[in-house]
Amino acid sequence: MKKLLSLLSKSLLIVLIFALPIFSYSTAYAQLNQGYIPPILSLLLDVDSVVSPPPPPPPSCLDTNDNDNDRLLNCFETNTGVFVDAQNTGTNPNSNDTDGDGIKDGDEVLGTLAGLNLPAMGLSPLRKNILLEYDWFDDSNDCSAHSHRPTAAQINRFVSAFANAPVNNPDGTTGITVINDYGQGGVFNRGNLINDANGVLSGGVGGSEFLNYKAAHFDANRSGYFHYVILPHRYNTTSGSSGQAEIIGDDMIVSLQCFVNSTSAVANTIMHELGHNLNLRHGGNTNCNYKPNYNSVMSYRYQFPGVDTNCDVVPDGVLDYSDGSNITLNESNLNENNGVCGAPSSVDWNGNNVIQSLVSVDVNSDDDFQNSQCGGVLTTYSDFDDWANIVFSGIADADGVTLFNPIEIVSCSNHPGSHHGHAPHFRFK
């Protein structure tokens, strides 16, 4: 008995020796990190991901302030542009989002306070990241049984487009890393099938069914970090809509009916809808669609067939946003020698088989609706640098918090004219 008591007290002593520093450490860093939950508690609280604790300041740390309030001490934010570890992050101590992707440095280095393990997902505080979660329907509407789950090939197609973006990062690289969860495994295990009764999403983005599915399938701790995509067969329209999305937001629908096996159709539409979330419109910064000099998947002209890569205004199957490099077109004063890229890449705008230095043509559409969106029948179209102007803050939407100012709301009170809205065909040299 005496021996047993002695053993117990020794065990208690050992526990205290190890537990007290851990407790002190947790308390101190909970204060520093506004309620950060240590990993062991995260497990007890059923937080889905284990997050690394913030490192304690070493004796050499001379500046224990956190100027930018990103949970990284100034002495750890070494501002070198090189990430080494959580004590040498290379980030800017005076910017809480060094890479400008809308996610704070501390979250990208340590994981979030709500237990979302962003470092394990591959995020970097020195390179822009975009995260998406996909939930999908399976159905047999309109064609044989099929799944709307995106495939790896579809995802990779648009991931590559972002990776090749002409966007500079603090670590000296270019491009944007897109991180996707379509239930492929590992930490990406939240994208899943939604068992919908008929394969049709009632309402659209912001509709009650969308919000109910999001509440049921999208983890709350992903809000503010992930864009959320539902892929139904269609939403409550019979018109063949390919999707819809919030402008500056985090929610979108991709509804490609029976085109689910088309790698380009699905990838291009995801990139198109994501573009709306990133504040891109059908004309870049305007709602003017089909501009031939706006070489972007955001334009209906290039959404499915891909952008033009050789200045002939004919789609070439490449997925991209515009870099804004095309020349401005004045429909009342078009020099066909200049095409859309400048001479010698000519375009025969009026289709008369002669390249002329002065013609007047409605080059984007003969549709009254489009004309109303574009400011008139004969007007001036500018390219737009999508990549330089994407807005990352839509993830902070939280379904109704973000303030926004829509651009001009165009009233279509006139009856449209006698033509449909697709782009005219051009002859080109």
Partner: protein, 122 residues
């Protein structure tokens, strides 16, 4: 005999052409009818996949266009919108979108009298 051959050939060629023609003209006829009735012919992006730019549907001005609304269910277009520049979460008097289908538009959406955001319909 020769005359009969020509008659049959003419009939056969005519049949083939008429099948091909009628197949291609269904939407063209609908489109013409649509435009005759002051509708607007819309080719949704997904149909461009088929390279059939004449495939589409007719949108028309709704009877409740411009009617005051608070939510999308109150409008035959399915969209209660606002023409004023507003902010998400603000109260606003909405009006029913005037076209029967919003594809191709980016619209401010109003639900329960509150601006819920701006949505692009593709």
């Amino acid at each position: 005999m020769i005359r009969g051959f020509f008659v049959i050939s003419f009939y056969l060629i005519g049949s083939i052409c008429s099948v091909a023609y009628s197949g291609a003209s269904i939407d063209s006829q609908e489109k013409a009818e649509c435009e005759k009735n002051k509708g607007r012919w819309v080719t949704p992006p997904s149909q461009i996949l088929n390279r059939e730019v004449d495939i589409g549907f007719c949108v028309f001005t709704t009877d409740d266009a411009g009617k005051v609304c608070e939510s999308s269910q109150q409008c035959s277009s399915g969209v209660c919108t606002s023409a004023t520049v507003v902010k998400r979460g603000e109260k606003v008097v909405g009006e029913c979108f005037e076209w029967s289908n919003p594809i191709g538009h980016c619209l401010v959406t109003v639900e329960n009298g509150i601006v819920t955001g701006e949505i692009c319909f593709d």
